[in-house]
């Protein structure tokens, strides 16, 4: 038999299929099997490992295949090829962690089941070429996650957080179901390659597709905990640590993935991208301010995720699709590590490292920063979709790094690191852009329509938390700073508000 690339591409199905036995097993049976003191959970790990092999192999064919078929199961292209191995690896890591972490707990088997179910749903979402399957996977993922979030079902806090999420998710589901109808109305098919082809062929001709784009954007914002629907996310620390890790590293990205996958519908109407830009930007600013004040490790990480998701949406709004994908993957890896290691005992509180910083050092630091910015601007001219706003945001970060290194470390290694990072970033970005070329995109027209003044405004907005941080450091006793601090520390009171609403709609017994 002669295997075609399209057939071989189906190897990517191996990964969700491997998780299916655990995902579909009855919860009580799983509890019984894994309640024993000697149940090591080797089978789930082996299966997830096998799935990971398939996922790692699949890009070989995913990247070669031509998009377009009307019947294909799997969506070819770079987006699938990057996301699938990422999700499969994360699954194995979190699964292995949970199996040991929850050892001895009576409901460990159930946890393994729902973790596998959630992950399998995410993987189906990533690989499917059919919009109906996509939406079904989307809803399954959310419902399975609900089971993980309420793992400690006696905890009122866990119930409130899960219910908040449940309500927002169902609104998102409604958006996607409507999208299904709108797409069917204008395309008479749910095969995504066909839909994208139609959309790209006749821009402007499909008002219903453009409206579907807006619904997709709303569903994505709800999924990725964007302002003001973010309050459930920092509250989900009421579930065991690996749930947080998997959610912050994997599931929360589904919103971004949705936008990337459907980017050809999103770009049909400029308003969609403006919504992403504004909501994403506001979320990034608000959440990073709140993050500054948080006093617990996990809540701080939670608000950091909200901010990063906001920035990722912001990038989508600017049409920097490949950078958004880089953000998803890099943030996922970092956040998985950060959550799984969040129990690291705090080091003894050392006295802050005091160095005398002379004028000469400041001069040196300024020179290093200047050189870095020039280096960066030169580098970013080679960017695939050169974008002044993003280059500016990243330049801000590079200046911080350069300044800190020059002031504190003052050695060759530090300067090398400062030079290496921007170059590395560019390399990663170019690589991803090439991979994405075929599947994501559409015109990033937005750039043209945005004036320099507006871009500077955006930049200033993103720099706002930094300015507040500086003001707080310089004038800690000013009444204005203290007033702002109290409001920010309480997350602008959105959480008590959301809790009160949820308790009114769907009360939890204390």
């Amino acid at each position: 038999m002669n295997m075609t690339t399209t057939d071989l591409m189906n190897v990517s199905v191996l990964s969700p299929v491997c998780l299916a036995p655990m995902a579909l097993a009855p919860a009580r049976w799983m509890d019984r099997v894994y309640a024993g003191q000697n149940a090591k959970g080797l089978v789930p790990q082996a299966l997830a490992g096998l799935g990971l092999m398939g996922a790692l192999a699949s890009p070989l064919w995913l990247l070669k295949a031509q998009p377009g078929g009307t019947t294909g199961l799997v969506m070819p292209g770079g987006l699938t090829a990057i996301m699938l191995p990422f999700v499969a690896l994360l699954t194995l890591v979190v699964l292995r962690y949970s199996i040991v972490y929850l050892h001895g707990q009576a409901r460990r088997g159930r946890f393994i089941k729902w973790l596998c179910a959630t992950s399998a749903a995410v993987q189906v979402l990533v690989i499917t070429a059919n919009l109906l399957v996509f939406v079904l996977a989307w809803m399954t993922m959310s419902l399975a996650l609900h089971q993980l979030l309420t793992y400690f079902c006696d905890r009122p806090g866990a119930q409130i957080a899960a219910r908040k999420k449940f309500i927002f998710s169902r609104i998102g589901d409604l958006c996607l179901i409507t999208t299904l109808a709108l797409v069917w109305h204008s395309c008479r098919t749910w095969q995504m390659p066909v839909i994208f082809h139609l959309a790209a062929g006749r821009p402007g001709a499909h008002a219903s597709l453009a409206a579907a784009g807006l619904l997709i954007v709303i569903a994505a914002l709800l999924k990725s905990a964007q302002f003001p629907f973010h309050t459930w996310l920092p509250d989900t620390m009421e579930a065991p640590t690996p749930v947080s890790a998997f959610m912050h590293a994997g599931i929360i990205n589904a919103g971004g993935f949705l936008v990337l996958r459907m980017s050809q519908l999103v770009v049909l109407w400029p308003v969609n991208q403006w919504v992403l830009l504004v909501i994403g930007g506001l979320t990034a600013v608000g959440a990073s301010l709140v993050m500054l004040t948080q006093t617990s490790v996990k809540r701080s990480l939670g608000f950091s995720t909200v901010a990063q998701m906001g920035f990722m949406m912001f990038e989508c709004g600017l049409g920097a699709w490949s950078l958004a994908l880089l953000h998803i993957v890099a943030h996922g890896i970092y956040k998985a590590y950060a959550f799984l290691s969040s129990g690291k005992a705090p080091a003894s509180t050392t006295t802050p490292h005091t160095q005398t910083i002379s004028l000469r050092h400041h001069g040196f630091a300024l020179a290093v920063c200047g050189a870095l910015v020039i280096f960066w601007l030169w580098l970013s001219r080679h960017w695939p979709d050169a974008n002044p706003a993003l280059a500016g945001v990243i330049a801000m970060g590079i200046v911080v790094l350069g300044w800190q290194l020059a002031i504190r470390a003052r050695n060759a290694l530090a300067v090398a690191l400062a030079l290496l990072l921007p170059a590395l970033l560019l390399l990663l970005h170019c690589l991803l852009s090439r991979l994405l070329l075929t599947t994501v995109g559409g015109a990033a027209d937005l750039n043209a329509s945005v004036s320099l003044a507006q871009l500077l405004a955006v930049l200033a907005l993103l720099a706002l938390p930094g300015a507040v941080e500086l003001a707080a450091r310089l004038r800690p006793h000013s009444p204005l700073v203290q007033r702002l601090y109290v409001h920010v520390y309480n997350g602008f009171y959105l959480n008590p508000l959301a809790n009160r609403l949820v308790m009114a709609l769907w009360p939890v017994q204390a």
Partner: protein, 797 residues
């Protein structure tokens, strides 16, 4: 000694007269009294076991348990088994003997099915986290220049959470509150009108509703001066808590419950006097049964052993090696293993700081001694790396941290460096079995007095050396090689990792004290001084420092470069024996951590387990501790004590003045009882006095953990240190202490020290005395009276 023993300040206030105005002087006295009942809480950097009943030991055991139950809103019951559907947490809810919470908010919640008490605790906890954060938040408002209450007033006057949550507008209220916390408490009393005699109990319950932060406040003022009551930030906390409670009075439904609440409170006080509730009785019966079973087994084993080895005289011949271990229960199986592989060895038990109550001046000042002591001695410890390399490393780390955390750069950080965490992520998931050595690259200890103020004078060194030798019972018959073995643990991503380290070293690992003691005792100058003071150390006696890793059961030796050539062979053979003993000790322990004793690569598996970041039970710590034996090792050598006993070396024939016994009974015995009662409290009240499940731990303010999202700072032990998921591994039993000394000597100490008298007279521990090395025992029956203890015949099963 510079180290002075601090006695608990007596916290017995004059009985409330009941004649004064509410909130009069009696309110103040009641608040100070209740504050004295709150146990302190140490930070995660050095977790220290604290007796949760510390302030209640002047009460009989049963009354104290009852009072604790009243304060926590739940009567004590024997821990239920198996845990319910939900795994560990909440496992006791269903057996909860319904008892009314005593705080007004808690009472209203019970009647109205609301959750205001939770809300209040969350709010107070959130404020305290902001106030006491030691480096987690990048943006902090500095309220620390003000007293706690004033800072809270300012915070609350800006905070809209109360209004938005529907609790009540705290902003207006906070502005209207009086300036002084005592006035605030008086205001609250005027509004709540509790019976006067109920005030201390109400205050206690209010403070225990935020027991974690209350404990933190008490710890900040530790060690306490006798007039601690004068500037007590716990009074501030009490005022804050009561201010929340009276806000609830604005709600008509709550205000209507006020008379019922007063009645409930008065009833609780009445019952508190009688202290005979069925639940408590049931608990006492079960507790007695378990304690009696333990005591019978222990005494029978010792008696059987004494009968079989009656002619074994004290060590008249010189043993080749003496090994001194910490009294910690985990050293017992290791000592047993070492004695099995090296029959000539003499092992001894002593508090793991070896009497060297000295601060370690590293990057911070580490208090390497029990918290019951105070010491201003200090020895500098400098890392071997050069200062420049260290500074460069620190600078790089600081710059990297700023890059990661700054709001300007966090996006760039993720995109440029996020993916670089992939190898770390994978390495943490599948750790290698290569153990990290502590004896490599140890910091340099500068014992001698230096001009920086650190260091010990020759007199100080001699005094410490003399005290250590005297109290360890090493004044004569010292072996050629004396191993001073401290202990420490290894676990990865475990917030409570220091809870597994050495309590006698202030919740740190013990190598500093062992190394320091060995250095001082090996010093020729010190030995010359000792000789002048009449203490001879044989010339060929060499002290070597070691560290017992209680997680992996390996023992590492330190400073081997200093060992004289004459002793290198002895060290070699000691290392071999230690290795064999470690293998044996791991076999003893394998089953308890879910490994097969006969499995190949047991050591590698245990090391890997210690490095596994998802491992919530790296080791079992001091679980099941129940006994304390102060005697010569001969009395217990060869008995399998199953890691349930603290073993302290003591020979009363060498202690003519009774000073060694006095030390043992006022320090190690008290500490052992603290540890024992911490386990007791955490097991009986897992929802309030344990740290909750590790799977939800969330480090807060760099000092403690929350369970999940909010709630109070959690005191006590994590559930995973008490429970294996199916059953409680810890069996609550009060300490049973056996002291091999004449009763008159023991009585003398009891009469001299109120703290010890309280512990034994009020039944916080059971005391046995034996004068004949375990052939017959006397049980202490209170007020310095004893009665012969009937032990079952040695031949009986």
């Amino acid at each position: 000694m510079t180290a002075t023993l601090l006695e608990e300040p007596p916290m017995r206030s004059p009985a409330a007269t009941g004649q004064e105005q509410p909130g009069g002087p009696s309110a103040r006295a009641g608040a100070i009294e209740a504050a004295g009942w709150v146990p302190p809480l140490w930070p995660l950097q050095n977790v220290i076991a604290v007796n949760p009943f510390m302030g209640l030991t002047h009460l009989p055991f049963a009354s104290a348990i009852h009072r604790m139950g009243l304060a926590l809103g739940r009567a004590a019951v024997w821990p239920a088994n198996p845990p319910k559907t939900n795994g560990l947490s909440e496992s006791l809810h269903h057996t909860n003997q319904a008892q009314q919470p005593l705080t007004f908010a808690g009472f209203c919640d019970r009647k109205l099915a609301t959750a205001w008490d939770t809300f209040i605790v969350d709010e107070i906890s959130s404020f305290c986290a902001a106030r006491f954060d030691t480096g987690l938040a990048r943006w902090r408002v500095d309220f620390s220049s003000q007293p706690l209450y004033t800072a809270w007033k300012q915070f609350a006057s800006l905070d809209c959470t109360g209004k938005i949550s529907g609790f009540g507008d705290m902003r207006a209220l906070a502005l209207a509150l009086p300036q002084s916390p005592l006035d605030c408490i008086n205001d609250a009393l005027t509004q709540l009108q509790p019976a006067d005699e109920a005030q201390p109990l109400l205050f206690y319950a209010s403070l225990m509703s935020v027991a974690g932060w209350a404990g933190w406040l008490r710890q900040l003022a530790w060690p306490e001066s006798p007039d601690a009551g004068q500037h007590n930030s716990l009074i501030d906390l009490l005022a804050i808590r009561l201010a929340f409670d009276i806000t609830l009075l604005q709600k008509p439904a709550a205000a209507a419950l006020l008379p019922a609440w007063r009645q409930c409170l008065a009833l609780s006080v009445k019952h508190g006097v009688a202290a005979t509730r069925p639940a408590a009785n049931n608990l006492m019966t079960t507790l007695h049964a378990h304690e009696t079973a333990f005591q019978e087994r222990l005494l029978r084993d010792i008696k059987a052993h004494a009968a079989s080895a009656a002619d074994a005289s004290a060590h008249s011949t010189r043993s080749p090696v003496q090994a001194v271990f910490c009294i910690d229960v985990r050293s017992e199986p290791y000592r047993r293993a070492l004695e099995a592989v090296l029959p000539g060895v003499q092992t001894l038990g002593f508090a793991g700081f070896f009497g060297f109550a000295v601060n370690e001046a590293a990057d911070t000042l580490r208090k390497q001694y029990p918290v019951l002591l105070a010491s201003d001695l200090c020895v500098a410890s400098t890392p071997k790396q050069s200062q420049a390399a260290l500074a460069a490393g620190n600078g790089l780390a600081a710059a990297w941290k700023a890059f990661k955390g700054s709001t300007l750069s966090s996006y760039a950080f993720i995109e440029a460096a996020g993916a670089a965490f992939l190898p770390t992520l994978i390495a943490h998931c599948w750790p290698t079995s290569k153990a990290k050595s502590r004896s490599q690259n140890t910091p340099e200890l500068t014992v001698e007095n230096t001009n920086t103020g650190a260091g010990l004078t020759l007199q100080q060194q001699t005094r410490l050396a003399k005290g250590a030798l005297t109290n360890m019972g090493l004044l004569k018959n010292q072996a050629r090689l004396v191993l001073l073995c401290g202990h420490g643990s290894t676990s990865t991503c475990n917030p409570h990792t220091t809870a597994l380290d050495c309590g006698a070293c202030g919740g740190n690992t013990g190598e500093f004290n062992a190394r320091l003691a060995a250095m001082v005792l090996n010093s020729p100058r010190v030995r010359a001084e000792l000789l002048a003071a009449g203490i001879t150390l044989p010339e060929d006696t060499w002290f070597v420092a070691g560290l017992h890793n209680t997680t992996t059961d390996t023992v590492e030796l330190f400073d081997l470069q200093n060992v004289p050539e004459s002793h290198t062979h002895d060290i070699q053979s000691l290392r071999q024996s230690l290795q064999q003993a470690s293998d044996l000790a791991r076999i003893y322990r394998a089953e308890s951590i879910g490994l097969k004793p006969q499995a190949p690569k047991l050591a590698a598996n245990i090391t890997r387990r210690a490095k596994d970041w998802s491992q919530v039970r790296p080791e079992w710590g001091l679980v099941r501790n129940a006994g304390f034996v102060a005697a010569r090792r001969d009395m217990t050598r060869g008995i399998n004590l199953a890691a349930e006993c603290f073993l302290h070396e003591y020979d009363y024939t060498l202690d003519a003045t009774g000073s060694v016994l006095e030390l043992i009974m006022t320090a190690p015995l008290v500490v052992a009882s603290w540890i024992n009662l911490q386990y007791f409290g955490s097991t009986l009240w897992p929802d309030q006095l344990s740290a909750g499940t590790k799977t939800l731990h969330n480090i807060v303010a760099n000092i403690g953990v929350l369970e999940g999202n909010g709630g109070d700072l959690r005191p006590g032990l994590p559930l995973e240190s008490l429970h294996n998921g199916r059953e409680w591994v810890h069996i609550p039993r009060r300490l049973s202490a056996i002291i091999a000394a004449p009763r008159s000597m023991i009585d003398a100490v009891i009469q001299k020290h109120q703290l010890v008298k309280d512990l034994v007279d009020n039944r916080w521990l059971t005391l046995f005395a034996t004068e004949d090395q375990g052939i017959s025992f006397y049980r202490y029956t209170g007020e310095c009276t004893w009665q012969p203890q009937q032990t079952p015949d040695a031949s009986a099963p």
